[in-house]
């Protein structure tokens, strides 16, 4: 199993020279199993770049099938879906798992997002690639050789945010984003879900004490605490704030690595960056 980030930014894309090393496209992660089958987590604008890269091979011939797992339906996690070349080639198929939201299904959300008011696609029915939507549940399911488990993490009165755990041959990647641990129940659920993971990808746009308007996000300290308590081998901070430059991310990583080392922890810590393949 290997992991490649195509979008690491939260909220809004941040093009520009100050964000090049970590990346400025919004949330999108590609996981490939041992047999190479692609599995995508979230479809922010990083999906536009990924979708173009996937055009080599079966997707160019209209014979590709891609599974996309959506954590929740905020812009930075879904807006990239209708753009890349592979969705304009008939014959390709998208299988999209996501929340059955309180305001209608994922399919309705996408249909509204692609309505003529917002998009020249004029609704889902006119996307060239075929697609099917699967409401995600806590029942494990298989994508090729990969096993996927999902956990709903409820936030305020809104639709649940789904966390995902992808496993193959004893390795596991856990993906948790846009969560604020407001009560013990959610915290304990997340701990059990992440238990012993090879890699934890966790949103951490802020640090403790930063004055920010909070829309329900976790802080770097929360991600580290979760990783330590659930005995994760490696943590990648994710969903970087739009104001966070490369140099700031370098400094954050260095600061918390030093704290971990001083406390004798063996957790490997880094900030997720677009581009390089992360082997497990």
């Amino acid at each position: 199993m290997q992991v490649q980030f195509w979008g690491v930014r939260g909220y809004v894309p941040t093009p520009g020279a100050a964000y090049l090393r970590y990346g400025g496209n919004t949330c999108c992660v590609l996981i490939r199993g041992a047999r190479g089958e692609p599995l995508v987590l979230d479809a922010g604008t990083g999906f536009c770049q990924l979708g173009d890269a996937l055009l080599e091979g079966p997707f160019q011939q209209g014979q590709g099938e891609l599974t996309v797992l959506i954590s929740h339906t905020y812009w930075d996690h879904i807006l990239g879906l209708p753009f890349p070349g592979l969705v304009h080639i008939p014959g390709n198929h998208l299988r999209i798992y996501g929340p059955d939201s309180t305001r209608g299904s994922l399919e309705l959300v996408y249909d509204g997002m692609l309505s003529p008011v917002y998009s020249p696609v004029y609704g889902l029915a006119h996307m060239a690639a075929t697609h099917d939507f699967q409401p995600v549940s806590t029942e494990p399911f298989a994508v090729g050789q990969l096993t996927v488990r999902a956990l709903p993490l409820t936030r305020r009165a809104h639709s649940p945010i789904w966390a995902y755990r992808v496993e193959e041959a004893g390795q596991s990647v856990v993906y948790i984003t846009d969560v604020r641990y407001t009560d013990d129940t959610i915290w304990r659920q997340a701990l059990a879900f992440a238990d012993g993971a090879t890699l934890l990808v966790h949103s951490a746009p802020y640090m403790r004490g930063e004055a920010v308007q909070d829309y329900g996000h976790s802080r770097v300290e929360d991600a580290i605490e979760l990783a330590l308590e659930s005995r994760v081998e490696r943590l990648l901070l994710y969903h970087h704030a739009p104001t966070r430059t490369d140099d700031e991310l370098d400094a954050i990583v260095a600061h918390y690595r030093a704290e971990l080392a001083a406390d004798g922890h063996r957790l490997q810590l880094d900030a997720a960056r677009e581009g390089p393949i992360v082997p497990l």
């Binding site: 809004v12 894309p13 964000y19 536009c48 812009w75 990239g80 309180t102 008011v117 020249p120 004029y122």
Partner: protein, 303 residues
């Protein structure tokens, strides 16, 4: 008039190394005259404008946002424009009214659950929505505004912004004026052009005349040049032009400078350089051709 370009990209924003010079943020242009601050489109460039305003001593507190249409690339910067959370700010928003959805509802729905955790009630600034149409003319302080309809799916507006000494024409999204006539209905595209009826050809010619009239003699024309010829051949039903089609309109309108705009997300800086060079070489004498770049500032007459 001072014009600052904050976003030049079309379709979706791109963060890549090969677009640093022309920029990866989607469409947003600021126009200043006297105390007035007018904003054309609310793409991701609008976040940068908000950040710049926060650094400006005595920044204006009143803004006029003129939206060409509400496709995502033209509105996704809006919730990241810091002044909308400032109760001391006032924002007047202009755009097309639709039978399907009012301008206010279109913006409100985009910001609300399940797409975002915001509603208009979370925006602290005073908001006013004004539905306008093609063929409008009105004044915003020292700035005179005119609108025309472009040839784009579900229709879109183009704007002319003018003072006594300078004129800017803003046409970010339009197809050429042959092959496809866009209205409110979706265009079926089977891969081969469907011949237009004589009535459609007359309407296309009228749209073209309207855009040329809007841009007539302007100092700057920002014009949709998203597609290459090959892209247009594949996606004519998306409503975008090529650089040579943009130049033809600029020449017919007699503008001083054409700024290619709404760059395709795939187009690299080097490719844009080559496109500009080819269009400049082909341009009639007196027409300057550039590609709009993020951060570019244009000035003419008193600020």
């Amino acid at each position: 008039m001072i014009v600052r370009i904050w976003g030049t990209r079309g379709s979706y924003p791109v963060a890549r190394t090969d677009v640093l010079r022309y920029g990866g943020n989607t469409t947003c242009v600021e126009v200043r005259a006297g105390e007035r601050c007018l904003i054309l489109d609310a793409g991701t460039g609008m976040r940068l404008l908000g950040a710049a305003l926060a650094q400006e001593p005595d920044a204006p507190r009143q803004y006029d946002l003129l939206i060409t249409h509400t496709h995502w690339d033209h509105i996704i910067g809006f919730p990241f424009f810091a002044p909308i959370y400032d109760p001391a700010c006032r924002l007047a928003i202009y755009g097309l009214g639709r039978t399907r959805s009012s301008l206010r509802a279109t913006i409100a729905n985009a910001l609300s659950d399940p797409l975002l955790p915001l509603g208009l009630e979370h925006l602290r600034a005073e908001l006013h929505f004004h539905e306008i149409d093609e063929g409008c003319a009105f004044a915003l302080g020292p700035l005179r505004v005119r609108t025309a309809r472009t040839n784009h799916p579900y229709r879109a507006l183009a704007y002319r912004i003018e003072t006594d000494t300078a004129a800017l024409a803003f046409v970010p999204d339009t197809g050429p004026f042959h092959t496809v006539l866009f209205g409110d209905a979706r265009i079926e595209w089977s891969g081969a052009p469907v011949p237009n009826t004589p009535a459609e050809l007359r309407e296309l010619a009228a749209l073209r005349d309207g855009i040329i009239d809007l841009a007539r003699g302007a100092d700057w024309l920002l014009y949709d040049a998203q597609f290459t010829d090959a892209q247009y051949a594949r996606f004519p039903h998306w409503g975008h032009s090529t650089a040579s089609q943009a130049r033809a309109i600029a020449e017919a309108a007699g503008v001083a400078e054409l700024l290619l705009f709404h760059h395709d997300p795939h187009r690299s800086d080097d490719e844009l350089d080559a496109i500009v060079a080819a269009q400049q070489a082909a341009a009639r004498p007196g027409l300057r051709v550039r590609a709009a770049a993020e951060g570019l500032v244009l000035r003419k007459g008193p600020a």
